[in-house]
């Protein structure tokens, strides 16, 4: 069990930049998936959930962003807004503030463009050296810290759809190990034609046409006493994260049910207290198995289901972080009420399931 609380958050999503448009969109149940500009984004998809009018120059600044790629700019923007929402106070103790950011592959667009330049150019070294740092997957986490002066441990976590939950789990462990006083934690994903093709080829036929999305959600995790000292009201307490593996697809339901039961039992939270459930809802048939697994574990209760996937598209590595943000959006400005619990779940097609259990702080 973790003593950490979530006391601030921000989101960059297809609803726009900031937690306010995200909360409004999620609570209205309004889909932000729209028609893609096919001249900018050729490729297999006609629709997608892109952050509207987002550019690094517009949201990060004109200086120093010439070679900043999209996922990095999205992450830097999300972390910047998170810090701004708490008066930049965590950045004033930079060595004790960690940053844990989930990502898919970093920017596959950057990786592919750079590699193509090297292979297709007149000389293999006729590449833009300033773009090389974009080709490593920890670019977004590194830049987010450098840009905002965060000097604590800096970690990149990747785990498919479960990335956001794994990042949360890692962040809690990092804090428990005494490596930092607080953690900025979340995940980011960008839309690109390159990612679109990878997803297209990686998917089964039944889910192939589901639109992609992009965005980021980041959270401030800190001790309740630190939140109180800074005058921040905790929005939720992170009780635990649990993960399991499965072999055949049909075993995913039982694996997730066991995972959720485990989370409830280790924390002593009653199934009936779970008022909000934010499932991943991805992977064709896996989406139905996920809801069935959660229902198996919760029994005859009647939680409110917050389904982000139809609203935001498949945001891949950012999915579970955006689900967590959706829980906070649904809980409102005062956060989860005492005695109220929320569940964020996911099933990764590669054979892992996970959940995070939150309660009122």
């Amino acid at each position: 069990m973790s003593p950490l609380v979530l006391s601030a958050w921000s989101a960059v999503s297809a609803y726009g930049v900031g937690s306010a448009p995200f909360s409004e969109g999620i609570n209205a149940g309004r889909s932000a998936v729209g028609t893609l500009d096919r001249t900018v984004y050729p490729g297999p998809f006609e629709r997608g959930g892109l952050v509207p009018d987002f550019t690094a120059a517009e949201y990060v600044g004109r200086k120093g962003t010439r070679t900043m790629d999209r996922v990095t700019a999205i992450a830097v923007t999300a972390v910047g807004r998170l810090l701004a929402s708490c008066d930049a106070e965590p950045a004033r103790r930079p060595e004790q503030t960690a940053l844990v950011l989930g990502t898919g592959s970093g920017s596959v667009q950057s990786i592919m463009d750079f590699t193509r330049d090297s292979l297709a150019g007149e000389r293999p070294y006729h590449v833009d050296p300033a773009r090389f740092p974009n080709t490593v997957m920890n670019r977004a986490a590194g830049q987010s810290a450098i840009w905002h002066g965060i000097k604590g441990p800096n970690t990149t976590v990747a785990g498919g759809w479960l990335t956001g939950l794994l990042a949360l789990s890692y962040a809690v462990r990092l804090h428990r190990g005494g490596h930092c006083a607080r953690v900025l934690c979340g995940a980011a994903e960008e839309y690109s034609t390159q990612r679109a093709w990878l997803e297209w080829h990686g998917r089964t036929a039944e889910e192939r046409s589901a639109p992609l999305g992009e965005g980021s959600a980041v959270f401030l995790l800190e001790m309740p006493e630190d939140a109180a000292a800074a005058g921040r009201a905790p929005l939720a307490r992170i009780r635990t994260t649990c993960f399991r593996a499965f072999g055949e697809q049909g075993e995913a339901r039982a694996a997730l049910a066991a995972c959720v039961r485990d989370a409830l039992e280790t924390t002593g939270v009653a199934a009936g207290d779970v008022r909000l459930v934010a499932p991943l809802g991805a992977g064709g048939e896996l989406a139905a198995l996920e809801e069935a697994g959660v229902t198996d574990a919760l029994g005859a209760t009647d939680p409110r289901w917050i389904r982000c996937r139809p609203l935001l598209g498949d945001t891949s590595a950012a999915s579970t972080s955006l689900q967590l943000a959706a829980v906070l959006a649904a809980a409102g400005e005062s956060g989860l009420a005492p005695g109220e619990a929320a569940l964020v779940t996911g099933i990764e097609r590669d054979g892992t399931v996970g959940c995070a259990l939150l309660t009122g702080a």
Binding site: R62, R123, D128, P129
Partner: protein
Amino acid sequence: MTTANRVDADGRATIKEIICDILEIDADEMTDTSRFKEDHEADSMGAIEILSQLERAFGIDIDQAELARMVNLEGVVTVVGEAVAAKAASH
């Protein structure tokens, strides 16, 4: 023939555009002799970028030792002129 003749007005404009883009400054901020590092806050990464982009734009090879001379627009034009001449001579 002097080496400077190898870079015409268009070439000079291209060089200036590349450098201003990398240093994220407006063209009118840069003079022929304003220094990248001291006047325009360039770092070593910026210098390597300038060298690399010029190699791609002009199809030339520039030895990294030339960076010592590539401190302002005038110096870069001279180095590019020499590299263009060296390329022509090798053909």
